[in-house]
């Protein structure tokens, strides 16, 4: 499925795009996990790692300390349904 696609605009989408393309290349050539070269594996792991930190930092820019005092999840039992 290496069809032409619109290249994503933001950095997170760009990384996700790159990771998906690597997965597709491996699948297109029917490469089993153990036959994927170390170089490709390193690129894949590096991109996944970068994506992890970018996504997490994007979340941090939204939460902005508002979860810092949360020690425990308030009970949302069936007896006390949560409000929507």
């Amino acid at each position: 499925m290496l069809a032409s696609r619109t290249f994503p605009k933001n950095r997170t989408e760009e990384l996700k795009y790159s990771i998906e393309r690597i997965q597709e290349i491996c699948e297109a050539f029917l490469l089993p996990q153990e036959m994927v070269s170390d170089n490709l594996k390193n690129i894949y792991n590096g991109l996944s790692d970068k994506l992890f930190w970018i996504a997490l930092s994007d979340i941090h820019s939204i939460t902005k300390g508002k979860l810092k005092d949360m020690e425990k999840v308030e009970d949302c039992s069936l007896d006390k349904p949560f409000r929507t």
Binding site: F52, L56, H60, K66, K72, V73, D75, C76, S77
Partner: protein
């Protein structure tokens, strides 16, 4: 098998949280360690927690980013048996946490797993915790 608790995920979402550093390490292990998983009910509970503190638009943004962090092959579903065990514990007074805590604990019981959490309620339900 090790299961991430909701508070581990929530703590990792805020660098000012007292358990942030450890929580992020555990979140990274979800990607790097074969034996670490996240129950689907944890994502559900995260949404509930986030909805109480943020607008729906922000919750959506957080969840979309979380989707990039949580590997799909590491999300463990709960089944009717998980709910049955949780209900049984509630019936005999062995349920110590909230609704989702009990489901996470019963999922751990089903899979002979430990729970990655600093919450003592899991230990009260006979589940070993790691922190």
């Amino acid at each position: 098998m090790k299961l991430l608790d909701t508070m581990t995920v929530i703590a990792s979402l805020d660098p000012n949280h007292k358990h942030y550093r450890k929580a992020v390490i555990h979140l990274q292990r979800l990607r790097s360690h074969d034996d670490v998983f996240i129950p689907c009910v944890v994502i559900h509970e995260c949404e509930i927690v986030l909805r109480k503190r943020f607008s729906l638009a922000k919750v959506e943004q957080i969840l979309r980013n979380l989707n990039l962090i949580l590997p799909k092959n590491k999300i463990v579903p709960v089944d009717a048996e998980t709910h049955a065990i949780a209900t049984q514990w509630k019936l005999i007074g062995q349920s110590y946490g909230g609704y989702t805590d009990t489901l996470i604990a019963s999922l751990a019981y089903q899979n002979k797993a430990n729970v990655i959490s600093y919450d003592a309620s899991f230990r009260h339900m006979g589940i070993t915790t790691i922190w």
